[in-house]
Amino acid sequence: MSINENRQQVTIDANEAAAYVAHKTNEVAAIYPITPSSPMGELVDAWAVVGEQNIWGMAPIVREMQSEGGAAGAVHGTLQAGSLTTTFTASQGLLLMLPNLFKIAGELTSTVFHIAARTVATHALSIFGDHGDVMAARTTGWAMLFGNSVQEAMDFALIAQASTLRSRVPFLHIFDGFRTSHEVMKIEKLTQDDMRAMIDDELVRDHRRRALSPDHPVMRGTAQNPDVFFQSRERANSYYAQTPGIVQSEMEKFEALTGRRYRLFDYIGSPDAERVLVLMGSGCEAAEETVEYLVARGENVGLVKVRLFRPFSCEHLLAALPQAVKTIVALDRTKEPGSAGEPLYQDVVTAISESAMSGDSRFSNTPRVIGGRYGLASKEFTPAMVKALFDEAKKPVPRNHFCIGIVDDVTFTSIPYDPDFSTEPADQVRAVFWGLGADGTVSANKNSIKIIGEETPNYAQGYFVYDSKKAGAVTVSHLRFGPRPIHSTYLIQRASFVAVHQFNFLERYRVLDTAEEGATLLLNSPYAAEEVWDHLPASVQQEIISRRLKLYVIDAYAVAKSAQLGVRINTIMQTCFFALSGVLPHDEAIARIKDSIKKTYGKRGEPVIRQNYAAVDAALAHLQEVQIPAAVTSLFDLPETVPAEAPKFVRDVTAPLIAGRGDALPVSAFPVDGTYPLGTAQWEKRNIAKEVPVWETDLCIQCGKCVMVCPHSTIRAKVYDKPSLDGAPDSFKHMPAKWRELADQIYTIQVAVEDCTGCRLCVEVCPAKDKSHAARKAINMQDQLPIREQERKNWQFFLDLREGGSNLRFNTVKNVQLLQPLFEFSGACAGCGETPYIRLLTQLFGDHTIIANATGCSSIYGGNLPTTPYTVNRDGMGPAWSNSLFEDNAEFGLGMRMAVDQQAAYAKHLVSELTDLIGEALTISLLTVDQSTDEGIKIQRECVNALKARLGGAKSPKVRDLLSVCDSMVRKSVWIVGGDGWAYDIGYGGLDHVLASGQNVNILVLDTEVYSNTGGQASKATPLGAVAKFAAGGKTTGKKDLGISAIRYRDVYVAQVAMGADDAHTLKAFREAEAHTGPSLIIAYSHCIAHGIDMSLGMNQQKLAVESGYWPLYRYDPNLAVEGRNPFQLDSKAPTKLLKDYIYTEGRYRILQQSDPASARALLEQAQESVLDRWHQYTQLAALEPRPLAV
């Protein structure tokens, strides 16, 4: 699709493209965040906040709901009441909307939902793109219109809107998640006039006329009996029959306006093609590029792009196919296990079969149809795969029901392809940038592609690949630009420019894999041009020489430092890219970069602009070309991803994933049901911290606070006996243990420097200061590199030491530090405020815990491959963990509880029945051991082991049954863990039900007061006055008091904790909650990157929250009421600080203070009042005289 020079061209992604039309052509939006569709809702909300109007001159109302189910319900309501309404969703979100989709379609209601199509969670969650979600909605009666590119996402949003108004059939406007939703592309922007021309206001008025109104009342939503329901369902047939024709006519109207021609089924390729591919979504673009390439080389092939999938018009499909077609390859980006074929394949087969059966003679011979799957969860779909499919179609008996893009060595469904086949044109610049999230690489590249797209005649495309980890996240940017339209919906395979923004990536990743012959390599290097060569790994040197790469270096960090930009090297590297790529003349490039800096940072004040300008001006003076030697000289190379002693699974599966080579793993490498071993995070040594904590034995008071706050469990403490020190490395530090109970024992704090993220939380909480040099503490930060090798050995020695102190009571922070964390080295943000609570949970209860984890940050850092941070102790026991969904986590956990209890009851029943076999003493023990303490659990475990030993030889069904359930007699602690988005919003109904169940479950709410994982959208936990997405003007309602709601059940243990304010209190609450035999709820203040804080001060923020009275610490223990005491204990002191002294240390509040001071002042006043009110209420509760016990 070429660009019309007379129209405005913009370089945006498909989310923005679709949201733009949705905003202009709707009156209301009810939204809920879900990846990858969230940006659409955020944009529409942001535009509404600043009063951006729709085509009727009104700013739409935008309302965030508590779930997608809620959003769909609200949309249904607004539609029924006559407003044009939209929403945006994906994946599970769309599934939650299904009931309303059926209703809205059944009522023939005009609306368009914009879907960034995403994988539905099955054996695992995936945030990436395929058609699993929309295919689950294909029976709802909604039209389904697929846009394949960013331009089409904008165009089809409008065509769908026009078509739904005319047809009355609701539309799902679909484009591929990430590949299209997040691809930045130069497109032509539709105008307000285009939209006015496409939207027929009379149809809008018809929509309103159908609305419910007491002025002309009707009923909808009746209940119907067998006599009429069926007929009523058939009554709407004509509307569906007309819809394809309506869409086609709207497409034609659109063509007349814009010149862009679309058909329900667009055909590309040779007019007499014998082999034709049929597919929909972004894969069509790669297929189009390949078809054009092959046709130009004489191949007789073609492509049908399916635009309107529902209602499926066989007639239009048949008309689109060339008459000569012999083999049709129907491709589905979804999997329907157990089906006769995937949905599009089945529809194509039906169309061809019906045509043949009806005696239609349009084809020379009835073509055969083969079908298969591609691209699940954003798996790459490349021209090489398309070529392989055309080759397969040529065979006399091509494979049917195949897979393409993977190696299926189990059921042998995959079609092989030649990965070296490429259609990437010579007149296109392809640039790949390896960066860190923190260094701003992606931001700079988004700006670059905008500059190229909007300031040059080039077509431009940008796509960005992100990390699974949030700390030290690696990003890879793929930028293409050139004189012809770009259809390459796949990652760059042959780059003419490679930039490596972090020097150590050379030793971690195969960054030059994509570099083509003669490509330019730009390296951010601490070494100057004349010395850098000797610091390159041998294989990198080899690749540079053999591919004749041109190498340039710049010490971007030095330039950034002089411009006071810290680690943000983005504008510096961007300037070098423009200079080396030559896409613009030098002065113009600099001017455009500065313009874009002004555009990007302008709102943030002149000083930031000046700072970045200075970096741009300084950059080129530091750029140096390296003279490439003729031979490889390096004596070192990329190290092995994991050590040889790693378990087989880690070596064979985890290691390739870590190294970014997961695509090459065959089907057989994976578990059949998504079950993964624990403890694999320990094998991935990321070395992301520049500075790490170092322990000072002369100052340490062994308080354990550093261990307590460490978000990644990289600081550990052990006590052990002196002889264990034999063989210790010379640099291994130790000191006498300061416990009365542990006389003569030795104490060590050891840091896993290769796993540390360098967050500094430990240093900030360390209370021990040097009396002669107060800046020196018992933990201080030092450069990691010089101590890496020695500390690697020390860490290994430390791990091998046996944990001591088992005679201690683990009810103090000092003692708990000695417990092994069974959660380590997660992918959480550096300085995360959530993970210290999870680590504590695993230290205290990990060996007998099952965790139900709501979707969100904690499920991502807890369970996102490649590695698993939950781990096991020496005996192989540890937390068993699972994630069901976002909305059902409380119920999921309750289910676990019921299962465990039922099995334990059955086991005890069998034990009673088999007393003769087991023996009376063991039976009594098994049935009566008090397991309320760690010691009791240990005794019961020994009893169960004794039982197993005793029953080992017996084979009766009852014995075998008992052996299958006897472990359940060891008390299991069920923890239901999730964030505030789950607990306060989407999962609240279930949470409330579980709290009311009386069952023994422990609920841990990691309250960050926003949806952190999806980028900081407001939840009902978001405080008054804080800025969040969907609360851009500062939240105007207060935070829900979840704790008090739970307290009203009276049998629920409730605690509100903040580790940074009082770690002992947190520990006490965890202990009491777990001991409580009914439901318990811990609401844990979790500082978060979404608060706009210096994360190293996170624990201090928690302290301020408590000291200001914003976050009172309390415990409500129903067991005290039983003893005749007041169950409510207010554990923090009356506020000693004003609320402003806390909140204005956080960006989420300061942003409002600086964007709208008057509102900020008003909200602060309300918020301060509400703090005092709540404190007053709590003090009243704490002062209540308990009701006298009944006699």
Binding site: I127, G437, Y466, R604, V608, I860, G1015, A1032, A1090, S1155
Partner: protein, 332 residues
């Protein structure tokens, strides 16, 4: 009684002027100061570092952790313009000029002759009658000679003088090797007044946390004596006005300030502690005292006890120190 005075060419109805402080935050607050009898208002300070830091902080908040993880490419809605520059401050001056009749003096607090000097233009454009420049600089670098420090003050003043035509007062710290010399240099560089002295908020030490702890302590009357001495020494020697700030709490303090040579007495701590009503009380008490002592006007007493006019000029110099110590020993 004629309480009027003239400061930097501004005709003031009396010599009591609230100094740069939170007292002038907001239009209502400025109106209240006028109603309370203040002769002019020195606005709260526009801090150079605040503007720079606000800009950096906002940029940091909006970029930290962004574009790293596919589900959370950013964390905040970026829809607003941020009030990071001097807009709010300048608007307040503009509105204050419309709302009150007394002169409004803008206050700039900074250390460099960089971009913030542009703000002086904006303050002038907004209608301010004068600018008070508070160069709050703590020279900690042992390699930096005092001449360099002094040059920085002069350069800053000159760079602003080039940009604006309204009078500029320099607020100084007492920590110069030669206060008289720097005063003369500043007068030559175009300062219309010297405001003596800036009170540095000296940091405190927290013994429990072993940390440096910032602590704001309001002034006491005793602190008047340092500016009193220097105004008295400088009065009449330089073609420049003086204002005394720090330690003005009572009508006696105000009278002493005038007699030492100040054209105005600036107050903040007393008003923060005891309310704006103190202005009227002090003015009334001044009037009563002046009537009792048969003064006709404030102008009459300005500089009457300056070094130039006292019977014993050495009282302001080292001899006074010796005598003070002597009297202390006698008392013991």
């Amino acid at each position: 009684m004629d309480l009027s005075t003239e400061y930097m060419g501004l005709k003031l109805k009396n010599p009591i002027v609230p100094s740069a402080s939170p007292l002038s935050r907001g239009l209502d607050a400025i109106r209240k100061l006028e109603d309370a009898g203040a002769a002019a208002v020195v606005m709260y300070s526009l801090f150079e570092e605040q503007i720079t830091l606000d800009s950096f902080y906002i940029a940091y908040y909006l970029t930290h952790g962004t574009e790293s993880y596919a589900e959370s490419l950013n964390y905040f809605p970026d829809v607003y313009s941020y009030d990071i520059g001097p807009d709010e401050y300048v608007n307040l001056i503009r509105r204050a000029k419309e709302a009150v009749d007394i002169p409004i003096i803008g206050s700039l607090n900074g250390v460099s002759a960089g971009g913030w000097t542009d703000y002086a233009c904006l303050i002038e454009e907004a209608g301010a009658d004068a600018i008070e420049l508070n160069v709050y600089y703590i020279p900690t670098n042992p390699d930096m000679p005092s001449s360099e420090v002094e040059a920085m003050y002069i350069d800053t003043l000159r760079s602003i003088k080039r940009l604006v035509s309204i009078p500029i007062a320099m607020k100084l710290s007492p920590y110069f090797s030669s206060t008289s010399y720097i005063a003369r240099r500043l007068a030559q560089a175009g300062a219309s007044a010297l405001v003596l002295f800036n009170r540095f908020y000296q940091p405190d030490l927290d013994l429990e946390r072993l940390e440096v702890a910032p602590r704001l302590v309001l002034s006491e009357s005793d602190e008047l004596r340092l500016p009193l001495r220097w105004v008295a020494i400088l009065y009449g020697r330089l073609p420049i006005d003086f204002a005394i700030t720090s330690g003005v709490h009572t009508y006696q303090d105000a009278l002493k300030a005038m007699m030492a040579g100040a054209k105005i007495a600036m107050m903040a701590s007393e008003l923060l502690k005891n309310g704006l009503g103190r202005i009227e009380e002090i003015l009334a008490e001044m009037t009563r005292w002046m009537e009792e002592h048969e003064y006709d006007s404030v102008k009459q007493m300005i500089g009457s006890l300056s070094q130039k006019h006292v019977a014993e000029p050495a009282a302001f110099e080292r001899a006074n120190y010796m005598r003070t110590l002597g009297s202390y020993r006698t008392a013991v």
